[in-house]
């Protein structure tokens, strides 16, 4: 089988993430098995050879991240899949992907933490790690699916964003979504927009590896005649290392601005009944499904409540949150952690923020969220 044929499938999130990646053109996977993302690795080991790609089971997650950066520089769209403990190990090399402007996709399927935590059960404790996990200044792009369908669709978007902005893009799913089985609808291949990689193979004159005056410049493809440096040190446009603050400024501002200037194009969110709402519940991933149910029940009682769901956790949907903060007397932010994304919501809103902390290990009970909505609006 080449691409998953169009049709309806009763499939789980990990299946959808894998097939979405293959649709997007992923042809290299390196990883180390870890619950709850192991099924992605397992399926990749079968599927990539079928589509002419390569699969490597690595010795650990540090090496996995390094391998997919190498593969991407070699010309292959690449990805890895992991969970909290592995994601922690990948942080340094995620920064390597950022500074070398290497497109790749990292799937982090969140489970209970810290450390080994609750390996087989859900958590949402890596949310700020997808933002600030690697040292230095980064402008990360993180997608958070809340269904099997989105696991497929956002995996394609993640690859497109990685290719467009030339950096590692993170898909932050969770144990429940990864192991949730529901209907997945796959369209015809030509109905998907796939960003194909353009590369430079021959160096024209003094052409640099990078160009800090432009947001987007095609990668050069290793091994084809374009000789260039790819360095983890701060570097100039030729790729040569530098210790100068002025070079750091030029490089870093380019790395940050290529994402920051395009936030409007990258940011995605879903709104549910927010138009007339006096109270907005902000939720992402699996928690948003409990929230949607709670909002539906509250609406039956005549309570004016809505849901705002960031689909891209980062860049933060700042503009829309500011607008909603003006119309809403309060925000509720339920998460399967002890308060992470709520800090960012607070940063951009003058309204009251009510954090709801759910311990890892279970899907938040919608009735608990409903009670909190009732308490706020009555």
């Amino acid at each position: 089988m080449n691409f998953l044929p169009p049709g309806k499938y009763f499939a789980d999130g990990n299946f959808a993430l894998t097939e979405g990646a293959i649709h997007a053109g992923c042809r290299f996977f390196a990883g180390y098995p870890i619950t709850p993302s192991s099924e992605v690795l397992e399926r990749m080991s079968i599927r990539l050879p079928e589509v002419g790609g390569h699969f490597i089971e690595m010795e650990d997650e540090i090496a996995s991240m390094a391998a997919i950066i190498g593969a991407s520089n070699g010309g292959s769209k690449s990805m890895t899949a992991t969970s909290g403990p592995g994601f922690s190990l990948m942080q340094e090399n995620i920064g390597l992907g950022v500074i070398t402007e290497t497109p790749t996709v990292v799937l982090d399927e969140m489970r209970g933490g810290p450390s080994t935590g609750i390996p087989t059960r859900v958590g949402q404790g890596d949310v700020m790690q997808t933002r600030w996990g690697s040292h230095g200044d980064l402008a990360p792009i993180t997608f958070a699916p809340n269904s099997v369908q989105e696991s497929f669709d956002l995996e394609i978007e993640a690859f497109n964003a990685a290719e467009t902005y030339r950096q590692p893009v993170i898909v932050a799913s969770d144990q429940v979504i990864g192991h949730l089985t529901e209907i997945l609808e796959v369209k015809n291949m030509e109905d998907y927009h796939i960003v194909q990689r353009e590369t430079r193979k021959i160096r024209n004159g003094n052409e640099g590896v990078y160009d800090y005056s432009r947001d987007f410049i095609p990668m050069f493809e290793a091994g084809t005649g374009f000789r260039g440096n790819v360095d983890s040190l701060t570097h100039d446009e030729r790729g040569y290392p530098s210790n100068e603050s002025s070079v750091e400024k030029e490089m870093l501002e380019h790395l940050l601005n290529k994402v920051r200037k395009n936030e409007d194009k990258i940011v995605k969110y879903e709104e549910f009944l927010v138009e007339d709402s006096k109270l907005v519940v902000v939720a992402y991933g699996i928690t948003s499904r409990s929230v949607k149910q709670a909002v539906k029940e509250a609406r039956k009682e005549g309570l004016k409540v809505g849901m705002f769901r960031p689909i891209t956790l980062w860049p933060f949907p700042e503009k829309r949150i500011r607008q909603l903060a003006e119309q809403s007397k309060e925000f509720i932010v339920p998460e399967i952690n002890y308060g992470q994304y709520s800090h960012s919501v607070r940063e951009y809103s003058q309204t009251e923020i009510k954090e709801m902390h759910f311990p890892p290990g279970a899907v938040p009970d919608y009735r608990v969220i409903l009670k909190e909505i009732e308490r706020c609006l009555r």
């Binding site: 009763f10 390996p119 087989t120 429940v176 949730l180 089985t181 499904r289 539906k296 899907v363 009970d365």
Partner: protein
């Protein structure tokens, strides 16, 4: 109408596969199904559990609000789930592994799935016998959809598994209404 189904057993018994088969067959019949799964962080022998929400319309919240049906292939599956059951919950158990206390006897159907699968020379098919029994007992999905789901999942072992399914169906039907 919305149903909640819980399936429970030990790692290696095929509980997740059983739930996927039931889900697939129910989807074939045009219903909406959400299935979540969980397992213990141990090797074979730890617990394994699946929840299904079955409805005529789409559902957001993936956890069943009540357990209308409990299918268990282990004693633990009965013991730990008792507190989640409602007075009308129908229970389906593997006879050789689960001893059912008196107060639950009336609503329980005991199936010798392991023995049946051995008799049919498909000892790995005990979960498929249970699938058949579940179908016969509840009629949540049709026999035909059950066969199609099996053919999709086990293309190389269709006949052996259909045999298990049909025998299970027959057993379940004896107790169904």
């Amino acid at each position: 109408m919305r149903f909640g189904v819980r399936m429970y057993g030990m790692g290696g018994q095929g509980i997740i596969t059983l739930a996927k088969l039931v889900g697939e067959a129910t989807v074939e019949d045009g219903k909406f199904v959400l299935m979540t799964e969980e397992y213990s962080p141990y090797i074979t022998g730890g617990w394994s559990k699946a929840n299904l929400v079955i409805s005529e319309d789409t559902v957001d919240y993936p956890i069943p609000e009540q357990i209308d049906y409990l299918v268990t292939l282990s004693q633990e599956g009965l013991d730990v789930n008792v507190s989640d059951l409602i007075p009308n919950t129908k229970i389906l158990t593997e006879r050789s592994l689960v001893s059912v206390p008196g107060e639950w006897k009336e609503q329980t159907t005991e199936i010798s799935a392991i023995q049946i699968s051995k008799e049919l020379k498909n000892p790995k098919g005990a979960n498929v016998v249970m699938m058949g029994a579940f179908s016969g007992l509840t009629r949540i999905f049709s026999e035909e959809s059950g066969r199609r789901a099996i053919a999709k999942r086990f293309p190389k072992y269709v006949d052996a598994n259909i045999a298990c399914f049909e025998k299970g169906f027959e057993e379940g039907m004896k107790f169904g209404r």
